[in-house]
């Protein structure tokens, strides 16, 4: 006698297996074709090291900026009732679905040398943002911040506000309550938002190449380096891809780690 539920329909099983295979095969190919022997030498090359360093530095800065302004944005969206709140909420999610290259064009039109705001800055100071390392940070922040805002806002809205009332009744103002009660209790969600934001910033390609260009050592991040290396040095491209894969896996593990799942409220 078979115990438990009946087997799933074979048609669904076959299609599901196909989908899984489709997702796994490219990653498998990457591992199979990786130049394991020459990997240390490839990763040691100055151009690769530059791209890796630039990527990490810009992604860390972008994530920090996104956290410093994104958490307050999430708080306002979740806690302050103002006209146009649902519109603001929709606008925040727009960069999530917008093709990144469109984001890059939009950033150029806003902050470029002849952009709406960038033009004014250029006229006054003679300085223009695009095609600088700062532009990489701006592009990454633009694309990655919504991940953080949405994660934190969702957590804030699901948060038991009686804890905030308890803090207020003990004499703590809203800022103190946010700092000493809400954010510590939402630490797992906050961490998830930060990690997602960092991963998205690290992988950013379209907005970066459009807005910041592709100058080695200055604006050429890992994804750009991978794309360019594919033409003249495919082995290096594979090596770089492996590094990004490892980082992504690390992010996934972090997100699934028990530490992030631990629910402080129960």
């Amino acid at each position: 006698m078979r115990r438990g539920r009946a087997l799933p329909p074979w048609s669904l099983t076959v299609l599901a297996a196909l989908a899984l295979l489709f997702l796994l095969l490219p990653l498998l190919a990457l591992l199979l074709r990786a130049p394991w022997a020459s990997l240390p030498r490839l990763l040691g090359e100055p151009s690769v090291r530059d791209a890796l360093r630039l990527s990490l530095v810009t992604a860390v800065i972008a994530t920090s900026v996104a956290t410093v302004v994104g958490v307050p944005l999430a708080w306002v969206l979740a806690r302050v009732d103002f006209p146009g709140r649902s519109l603001a909420r929709a606008l925040v999610t727009l960069p999530l679905v917008l093709p990144p290259v469109v984001g890059g064009v939009a950033l150029l039109l806003a902050l470029g040398r002849r952009g709406v705001v960038g033009g004014l800055i250029y006229d006054w100071t003679g300085w223009s943002l695009p095609f600088s390392t700062a532009a990489v940070v701006v592009a990454e922040t633009f694309v990655a911040m919504p991940f953080l805002v949405i994660t934190v806002e969702g957590a804030l809205r699901g948060f038991d506000q009686r804890y905030e009332e308890a803090g207020a009744m003990l004499g703590a103002g809203r800022l103190t309550v946010l700092r000493r009660v809400t954010l510590p209790m939402l630490a797992p969600s906050l961490a998830a938002g930060v990690v997602l934001c960092f991963a998205r910033a690290l992988g950013e390609f379209g907005a970066t190449i459009t807005f910041a260009g592709n100058a080695p050592g200055r604006t050429q991040t890992m994804p750009l380096a991978v794309y360019l290396a594919l033409e003249d040095d495919p082995q290096a491209a594979i090596a770089l891809s492996l590094v990004l894969l490892v980082v992504s896996l690390a992010v996934l593990l972090l997100l699934r780690d028990r530490w992030l799942r631990r629910d402080l409220l129960t």
Binding site: R162, A168, M169, G171, A172, R174, M185, A187, L264
Partner: protein
């Protein structure tokens, strides 16, 4: 800490809720708001805390005005010298017991070291110092609620609000904490307002009982008076009394609105609309018309029998209907069962007759 008496006129209109409650509590006095669920008790408490906006009215603590709709005064919750203990302890899970208790002290301006010292003193005073380093997740329900009370007291409130503070606890913890709470409220020294729907909490903890039904005060007074002479069916049910409305004639006979006549002892000057309260234990049941002196004798039909403690509560349909508490032996002797006709007798001395005066303001 004392900051003077509480004087509040609370009016909140929100959706289907309409609350009009005036409250006064002097320093050291425990006022208990008692009422059924949804009566507006918790809303009244939230309004005192500043968590719910008043539609109209005023809240003053001594000479500080916390809320005055007409004058446009509203002190936000974090600047009110008011402590709130909720049904759930709501301890901050990421802080130790000591840091939870220190939270309010620190929020009101003390530095970390000073606030921890104050917290340690309070924990010792409430005999909880052995829990100082523990996190809330490791506390029992009763301990957590004690810590919540300590946390509220340590912040030095001039008004203490307690919203069903014992409701989430099991019966034995509840009995212990009820006694302790009484002690702490006495030593606290400021006015306290406690909300409950449990009559035992109300009778043990209250200096003055305010009964709220459907957003209005229906009765207020010392708990003993309220328990002896309930004004509404809700209170009568809570304290386990039969309550009848009627009109008293000069000869002392009360013609009940629901049918039947009850005669109380003596002749009273009180005529007109009155209430009559009757303890179920004072009701006697008989198989045939009783001999002797009882002034009130009538016939009824048993509709329900239920064991309550070591007594049996018998519901009887008649004019008037009545709840009677009798012994198990009496149930057996009389062969009581639903549908059986019985004779009911009540001595005139056992009836409490009083005016259904409107509640004092």
């Amino acid at each position: 800490m004392t900051g003077g008496a509480l004087a509040a006129q609370l009016q909140v209109e929100r959706g289907s809720l309409s609350l009009h409650v005036d409250l006064a509590a002097s320093a050291g006095e425990v006022v208990v708001l008692l009422g059924p669920n949804g009566a507006g008790k918790s809303t009244a408490l939230r309004a005192l805390a500043g968590l719910t906006a008043l539609t109209a009215g005023r809240i003053a603590l001594g000479d500080q005005v916390l809320d005055d709709v007409e004058a446009g005064v509203f002190v936000p919750p974090e600047r009110r010298p008011v402590g709130l203990v909720h049904q759930d302890p709501l301890l901050f899970p990421h802080l130790t017991v000591r840091d939870n208790v220190a939270f309010g002290v620190r929020a009101r301006g003390a530095d970390r070291a000073a606030s921890r010292r104050v917290a340690a003193e309070w924990l010792e005073r409430l005999r909880l110092d052995h829990l100082a380093a523990v996190r809330p997740a490791a506390l029992s329900g009763g301990q957590a609620q004690q810590v919540a009370l300590t946390r509220a007291l340590a912040a030095g409130p001039q008004l203490l609000l307690l919203d069903e503070p014992l409701a989430a606890l099991d019966a034995s913890t509840r009995a212990v904490l009820r006694t302790e709470l009484r002690e702490h409220l006495t030593t606290y020294g400021g006015p306290s307002v406690l909300v409950t729907h449990d009559p035992l909490d109300a009778l043990v903890l209250a200096d003055r009982l305010v009964v709220v039904e459907a957003g209005r005060v229906v009765q207020a007074g010392p708990p003993g008076d309220v328990a002896r002479r309930p004004h509404t069916d809700f209170v009568a049910r809570l304290v386990g009394l039969n309550l009848y409305r009627g009109t008293r004639a000069p000869d002392g006979a009360v013609a009940l609105d629901g049918g039947g006549v009850l005669r109380a002892a003596g002749t009273s000057s009180a005529t007109g609309p009155v209430l009559v309260a009757l303890r179920p234990g004072a009701v006697a049941l008989h198989a045939s018309h009783p001999e002797g002196s009882p002034r009130n004798v009538w016939r009824g039909t048993v509709t329900g029998i239920e064991l309550v403690g070591d007594r049996v509560r018998v519901a009887i349909d008649g004019a008037p209907s009545v709840l009677a508490d009798v012994t198990a032996a009496a149930v057996a002797d009389l062969g009581l069962q639903p549908g059986l006709g019985v004779w009911i007798s009540v001595k005139a001395n056992d009836l409490e007759v009083y005016r259904s005066a409107p509640p004092p303001p």
